[in-house]
């Protein structure tokens, strides 16, 4: 699939230095904004998206035609209030919705594919900060993100301690666990085992590794839901049939649902981007980047923090948020933390959880 560039695009004048030691030339960052920037440029809120998210935070997605991924949270009068805040959401580098990624063309006119350098969460944040520089925004009112978006929010606080007044990190972690890495590796191996992947050189080849990417999405999707939620939604119910087929069709509703999730996903996402972004998440360990002690990462911060976890999230469980909170306590940073009760697992941050609305609104106003 090709990249999409329907959004505003900011082109970095200088090469973007990367944690790998390489530098990325000609980086483009696709972004959307909502609400007016105040004259003093003090009302900007950066929202960072998750692994398969994009900049279409509160506007219609150009490929799927679906509403923005956080429209319930962002808009006039909503908890992230675009009547008062200038909200910015940029596609992360490595992705495929307009920012430079493996599907983008390299200097030789061919897609980067696997020549694209391995990037990190901190590299994504460097790109976000370069965009802020370009937009003339010195200090953000807040950075908000869930899941990988929360990782970026924490990473920004650690590496650019003066760029934001508030850091709101939801359903996230300061490091990827062995279990997190393990699930991602299953997804990557599914993509790379697809013959259509061709070592990443499938652009223009007529076929993409859709089967592999779909399996990767199916496996990941399970980790975004709670067992309770799956049981409630599907149980052992059969899909459009009265009896088991004694075959390998999607007999069960949950199978049908996962297949649908997988096949929908490949319409809007690039398999190589999935490899690169999951790798970035697996490499993520803020403490490691700051000499081994997480509290040291936040020693120079000037921000107030708010962390939110969900009791049914087993991907980034509450203990991971507490770990960050304790480090922030040790660093003397002002921090709020609450574990909210919601049945939807990791995906709770995207769904109807009224308490989350109240926490976000209160934190951004306070």
């Amino acid at each position: 699939m090709a990249t999409h560039a329907a959004s505003n695009v900011y082109r970095l004048a200088a090469p973007l230095p990367l944690d790998s030691g390489q530098a990325l030339e000609g980086v483009e960052i696709a972004y959307e904004t909502y609400g007016e920037l105040a004259a003093d440029r003090g009302n900007a809120v950066l929202v960072c998206h998750a692994l398969t998210g994009d900049q279409y935070l509160a506007s219609t997605h150009p490929v799927t035609g679906k509403p923005g991924w956080w429209e319930r949270m962002v808009g006039p009068g909503k908890p992230i209030d675009t009547a008062r805040h200038h909200v910015i959401c940029a596609n992360v580098i490595g992705s495929c919705m307009g920012s430079t990624g493996p599907a983008s063309l390299a200097a030789d006119g061919q897609p980067h594919a696997m020549r694209f350098p391995v990037i990190t969460i901190r590299d994504m944040v460097r790109a976000q900060v370069a965009l802020l520089d370009g937009l003339g925004i010195e200090r953000l009112h807040a950075v908000v993100g869930g899941s990988m978006g929360g990782m970026q929010a924490l990473s920004l606080a650690a590496d650019f301690p003066n760029r934001a007044a508030r850091i709101l990190a939801i359903a996230t972690t300061a490091r990827h666990s062995a279990q997190n890495i393990a699930f991602h590796e299953v997804g990557r191996q599914a993509i790379m085992a697809d013959p259509a992947w061709r070592g990443g050189e499938y652009y223009g080849a007529g076929a993409s590794p859709d089967a592999g990417l779909s399996v990767a999405r199916m496996a990941a999707h399970i980790t975004y839901l709670s067992e309770e939620g799956l049981t409630e939604k599907f149980g052992r119910r059969l899909q459009d049939r009265d009896a088991k087929s004694f075959g390998f069709d999607a007999d069960f509703q949950v199978e049908s649902y996962l297949r649908y999730q997988g096949s929908g996903f490949v319409q809007r996402f690039d398999a190589n981007s999935y490899l690169y972004i999951t790798r970035a998440m697996d490499y993520f360990d803020i403490a490691e980047e700051h000499g081994g002690l997480l509290a040291d990462a936040f020693a120079g911060t000037t921000a107030r923090f708010c962390l939110v976890s969900f009791d049914s999230d087993w991907l980034y469980p509450t203990a991971e948020s507490r770990h960050v909170v304790h480090a922030l306590n040790a660093a003397g940073a002002p921090v709020s933390f609450v574990e909210l009760s919601a049945p939807f697992g990791h995906d709770s941050f995207l769904l109807e959880v009224p308490a989350l609305d109240r926490v976000i609104r209160g934190f951004l106003d306070g």
């Binding site: 107030r304 708010c306 507490r322 909170v325 304790h326 306590n329 040790a330 003397g332 002002p334 921090v335 709020s336 933390f337 609450v338 574990e339 909210l340 009760s341 308490a355 109240r358 926490v359 609104r361 209160g362 934190f363 106003d365 306070g366």
Partner: protein, 201 residues
């Protein structure tokens, strides 16, 4: 300093609100819905932080813009560095601690001084209820039956003073309250329904 807007606060909290210095770094352990912290933030411009175990109350604190962490005071005080706060507050929570002696020590490790309030189990109505009926008292300040109360370490004014002395903790000041009014210190272990101590190392 009645101008701190402490009128709506419980009497022990109102005293604390008056006593906390302007601009202090304050940790309220078991801060509830954040009423005291909000009063201190607005009236005294303190750097207000809180710990609260009940997620519904934490959510209310965060929604009013306070820096409050959902946590267990028995476990989570250890994550704050020595002397991180000018004032640590433990209101009506000491008697719920797994080890009140350790919590008191922790309070004065993270705070240079502390305000501690607790229901006085030697209040005469308690003694009378126990003596006359022979059953654990259920009162306005200790309204829950013995088998479901969170107050697992009942304490008296004298007990607290002895504990402080044995831990080398200095009692700076004390206030006593009965029926939501401040009362004098004479015969406090009989007369006070609850007590507030300002302590330091």
């Amino acid at each position: 300093m009645a101008s701190v807007g402490a009128e709506a606060l419980r009497p022990d909290l109102a005293v604390i609100a008056r006593q906390v210095p302007h601009g202090a770094r304050v940790l309220d352990v078991g801060c509830g819905d954040g009423a005291l912290l909000a009063t201190l933030r607005e009236g005294k411009q303190v750097d207000a932080r809180g710990i609260e175990i009940d997620p519904v109350l934490v959510e209310r604190c965060v929604a009013r813009g306070l820096s409050v962490v959902q946590g267990d005071a028995d476990r989570d005080l250890t994550f704050y560095p020595d002397g991180a706060f000018d004032v640590a507050i433990l209101s009506q929570t000491l008697q719920t601690a797994a080890r009140p002696d350790r919590m008191l020590a922790e309070l004065l490790r993270v705070g240079r001084r502390a305000f501690v309030s607790f229901p006085n189990f030697a209040y005469w109505r308690m003694r009378w209820a126990l003596l006359s009926r022979g059953r654990m008292p259920v009162t306005r300040h200790l309204p829950v039956s013995w088998y479901e109360t969170e107050n697992i370490h009942h304490v008296t004014v004298t007990d607290f003073e002895e504990l402080a002395a044995s831990l080398g903790i200095t009692v700076e000041r004390r206030w006593f309250f009965t029926r939501e009014r401040e009362v004098g210190g004479g015969g406090a272990n009989w007369r006070a329904e609850y007590a507030l101590f300002e302590v330091s190392r």
